[in-house]
């Protein structure tokens, strides 16, 4: 094992591959080296001097973010010498940093705040000097630059330069007058530029969309998957009082590293929609009457049992569980099943291979393929008027499609948003949207990834897999799962594409199940 290097960090012995930086080795030893300019997805310039650590036998402190470990290194991150250095760096950073934490959006998740609180000086020695002042600048559609708060870590500059490949930011001026400058002819309009807000360790680059909306400590954070496109970027849904207030990237080195695109970041308002179907509606005597689940499920079971040919029109945002169980509902007859895939333009992120905002704006296209949704949308739509039953699973129905739906012999809509276009259905069943349920998506590389419930479902809404499974139980006597985990386990044991996985196998970063399907149909 010659390519492993043995080092001791704060008394913890670890063996790491050759070429590992001290900061990464310390992570493996369970030691956090405070840092600002270092970011695992960006090149390290070692400008912030925060990660200086004491390496025994080295004449001076060494920057942990660029120094690679050597055999036998004894590194002290938390001894007197290293701490003193960090205390001094923090003191310098605070010379010009305003004391506006009460009005700063970053307060509560600010790395400067954290580290100063942990190991900064208790008082200032620069109270007699006026702080430098620069006005707030508008950097683009969703980014504000508050120059006063900037600690010049240059993460944003390096992101735009090396990752986004659109170098519009730089460090202007010198010394204590330095600030982040932007090309006068450009704004941060790159489709991935919103990531500079997350990269900024302080409240210098802030999101206009999130400005003053909530304090960091008010937010409940839920691990999720971006429902924007087939890329399946890992996200964090931040909710406040059951309202989604922002989406942020969640690290997954295999899929999106630390980034999400601006389209995905801004696309959360539909999760909070108030115009929802809240109770099952049954058509009786030409009118839709609210009813309870027992009645509605019995009606759904009766409709599906009597139907020989069934058309399923599903949303690409439906979970694998929902798609699978709705598909099972139609197993006894001829099925034409399709998912609706809105199309957009592809926007790649240059610095990360295989990462882009994809053309197909549906997160679970491969999950639908695995579940047997083989027909094209147009084909399924054409088959709808002739079918015994049309099942709509939360798909957005436009006017032309609504007219087709109205000609169907019978139609059942399992939907979220209450829309006049779907009122022609015989049965309207309220379901949860992806922020309100547990489920999985299969991304374009065949990676099955879990998302978690972030907010409460409105009224009587239930996950679509629950509705379909319960109705299936009434129709055929098949046992119905009670949790999303059980639903997924049932599906994966019967669907060869899912390879017998369970939720426990998926973890937080997902598992690749079916690389064979990748790209074959595209």
């Amino acid at each position: 094992m010659s390519d492993l290097v043995n080092v001791t960090i704060d008394g913890v012995a670890v063996a790491v591959p050759k070429g590992t930086t001290i900061i990464e080795a310390a992570k493996q030893a369970g030691v956090l080296v405070p840092h600002y300019c270092y970011h695992p997805s960006l090149p390290s310039p070692a400008v912030c001097r925060m990660c200086l650590v004491d390496v025994e036998k080295a004449p001076k402190l060494l920057p942990a973010c660029v120094t690679t470990v050597a055999e036998g290194n004894v590194i002290n991150v938390n001894n007197e010498k290293s701490k003193k250095a960090r205390e001094s760096v923090l003191e310098f950073l605070l010379i010009n940093h305003p004391l506006d934490c009460p009005i700063c959006d970053q307060a509560g998740e600010c790395e400067l705040q954290d580290y100063v609180f942990q190991e900064g000086r208790a008082n200032t020695r620069y109270g007699d000097y006026a702080k430098r002042f620069n006005p707030v600048e508008d950097f683009g559609p969703d980014v504000l630059y508050v120059a006063n708060r900037c600690i010049l870590c240059t993460r944003c500059v390096r992101f735009m330069e090396s990752v986004a490949d659109e170098p519009v930011l730089n460090v202007s001026e010198r010394g204590d007058r330095a600030f982040i400058g932007i090309d006068p002819d450009h704004l941060l309009t790159h489709p991935w530029s919103g990531n500079v807000v997350d990269l900024c360790p302080v409240g210098s680059l802030i999101s206009k969309d999130f400005l003053h909306k909530a304090r960091a400590w008010d937010l409940d954070k839920t691990a999720s998957i971006c429902p924007g496109c087939t890329q399946g970027c890992n996200t964090m849904i931040d909710t406040r009082d059951d309202i989604v207030v922002r989406l942020r990237p969640r690290a997954n080195l295999e899929v999106n590293r630390h980034f999400i695109c601006d389209t995905g970041r801004a696309d959360y308002r539909w999760m909070n929609r108030g115009d929802r179907i809240e109770a099952p509606l049954v058509r009786e005597g030409g009118k839709l009457i609210p009813t309870d689940w027992d009645h509605a499920l019995a009606r759904l079971a009766e409709l599906t049992r009597g139907a020989r040919s069934i058309v399923i029109l599903a949303s690409g945002r439906a979970s694998t569980e929902s798609l699978g169980f709705v598909r099972r509902l139609a197993d006894h007859g001829t099925v034409t099943a399709a998912v609706k895939v809105p199309l957009g333009t592809e926007a790649p992120l240059a610095g990360v291979p295989n990462l882009a905002l994809r053309k197909e704006r549906a997160p679970n296209l491969d999950g639908a393929r695995l579940a047997g949704y083989a027909a094209t949308w147009a084909g399924a739509l054409a088959a709808a008027p002739g079918a015994d039953l049309v099942l709509v699973l939360d798909a957005d129905i436009d006017d032309a499609e609504a007219a087709t739906l109205a000609r169907a012999r019978s139609a059942v809509v399992i939907g979220t948003v209450d829309d006049d276009r779907i009122h022609c259905a015989n049965l309207l069943l309220p379901t949860t949207n992806m922020a309100e349920e547990n489920g999985t998506y299969v991304n374009r590389d065949g990676r099955v990834q879990r998302y978690y419930q972030a907010k409460a479902a409105p009224g009587m809404a239930r996950p679509a897999w629950w509705i379909a499974a319960e109705a299936g139980h009434l129709a055929t006597g098949a046992s119905a799962p009670k949790t999303a985990a059980a639903a997924f386990a049932t599906l994966s044991s019967s669907m060869p594409g899912l390879g017998g996985l369970t939720y426990a196998d998926l973890g937080h970063t997902g598992r690749v199940v079916s690389p064979a399907t990748t790209g074959a149909a595209r």
Binding site: C101, P102, I103, A107, V136, H212, K213, R215, W217, D218
Partner: protein, 172 residues
């Protein structure tokens, strides 16, 4: 079995009430000629001058008051610390931004019925905006008047609590 009761024969001097009654009346009459100490509230009220004898303690924690800056606007920057620290969950705060880009509270309401008058809001406020007041006359004709909005909190004029004695901050 009969119980034997021993009857004590005490002298009249010890068992008579006359002496005790006269003693009590003497005390009552004595007080008639001493200065009166009762304040005839609410006809009479304490003023700033008689502070110390009748007034409420300066550390009294009563209904809130929001302090204003020189322009008469509230000093609150809607940082969200008071609703966070409030153990009774009685503060509602919605932050917003004014024309000059300053953060300020769009909605700031305190439900004085829920409030337990702990004074944490005053203690946590980084802008010294919200205070508990030295005030106790809170009667209203309807319950909803006890939800104080920002305008009402700012227009209060009673003095604010010092929470601790500046001369003896540790309370020794």
């Amino acid at each position: 079995m009969a119980i034997g009761v021993k009857v004590m024969k005490r002298p009249d001097r010890e068992t008579s009430y006359v002496r005790a009654a006269l003693k009590g009346m003497a005390l009552t009459f004595k007080h008639m000629f001493q200065p009166k100490v009762t304040m005839q509230y609410p006809e009479e009220r304490s003023t700033a001058d008689d502070r110390g004898s009748y007034s409420v303690a300066p550390r009294w924690r009563g209904t809130h008051r929001m302090l204003a800056d020189e322009q008469g606007r509230s000093k609150c920057v809607a940082c969200g610390l008071c609703p966070q620290i409030c153990p009774a969950n009685c503060i509602k705060l919605v932050p917003g931004e004014d024309e000059e880009g300053n953060r300020y509270p769009l909605i700031y309401e305190i439900d004085e019925f829920r409030c337990v008058f702990c004074g944490y809001c005053q203690e946590v406020c980084p802008e010294e905006a919200i205070h508990v007041g030295v005030h106790f006359e809170n009667a209203e004709y309807s319950r909803d008047r006890f939800v104080y909005d920002l305008e009402r909190l700012t227009s209060q004029t009673h003095s604010v609590s010092t929470l601790w004695d500046p001369a003896d901050p540790r309370g020794q």
